[in-house]
């Protein structure tokens, strides 16, 4: 199944072609769920090592979805749409509390931009948007917003809960 409709793919290719710097997608999967390796890739509850894996989704009709494999398909599919976008897959890398997840990294640097869970449906646009934003040399925030953030003297963790509408 195609990741995007033809007209959407054309648009995304245009956006990715205009990236000013390369963007790397680092896909983090639960141990044993890296495609091609042995192990059950289906969602699991927290394991004996305290690693919180994907919880069972209550969404009807999704019981057979292999979230890890689908995440890899989505991210590798996006990487195919632009030379400036690369994708690699890691097995439970440090710093990821939930799986599957993807870190969006301008020039390969982890700047704290992440999507936890599979970006279904409309939420795929959030991931595409993150890639486009990460590919800009300068942030697109208003000057006054950037100035306010420069004054920040503590760390700030923003979590935004979304659903695939």
């Amino acid at each position: 199944m195609a990741l995007l409709r033809a007209e959407e793919e054309t648009k995304v290719r245009e956006w990715f072609a205009a990236l000013e710097r390369p963007v790397e997608l680092v896909v983090a999967l639960k141990a044993g769920s890296v495609p091609g390796e042995a192990g059950d890739a289906r969602p699991e509850t927290p394991d004996a090592f305290g690693v919180p894996g994907p919880e069972e989704t209550p969404r009807s009709g999704s019981g057979d979805v292999d979230f890890g494999t689908e995440m890899v398909r989505v991210c590798e599919g996006l990487a195919e749409l632009g030379d400036g976008v690369a994708c690699r897959v890691e097995d439970e890398p440090d710093g990821f509390p939930r799986f599957p997840a993807v870190s969006i990294r301008p020039e390969g640097r982890d700047v704290g931009v992440r999507y936890d869970g599979l970006p279904w449906g409309y939420e795929l646009s959030s991931l595409v948007g993150a890639i486009v934003e990460a590919g800009r040399d300068e942030p697109t925030l208003r000057p006054e917003s950037r100035a306010a953030l420069e004054e920040l003297d503590r760390d700030l963790a923003l979590d935004v809960f979304v659903t695939p509408t």
Binding site: T57, V113, L118, G129, L141, L156, F161
Partner: protein, 63 residues
């Protein structure tokens, strides 16, 4: 979501994570996610829904 990402890209102090609520229902329940987008700042639920950039900045910086 993009506003949060833009803030993270603009400041080394800020991280931004989208969390798919249906895939992590236990966490979503703990943080009382009944509507989306729900914005959580430093682990504390703050508000639901999209707001303009100036208001977004005001809210996260006053949290």
């Amino acid at each position: 979501m993009l506003l949060a990402y833009r803030c993270a890209l603009a400041s080394e102090r800020v991280t931004a994570t989208a969390i798919e609520a249906n895939e992590f229902p236990q966490l979503a329940q703990e943080l009382e996610v009944w509507a989306v987008p729900r914005i959580v700042v430093d682990g504390e639920p703050r508000w639901d829904g999209a707001v303009p950039e100036p208001e977004f900045l005001r809210r996260i910086l006053s949290a």
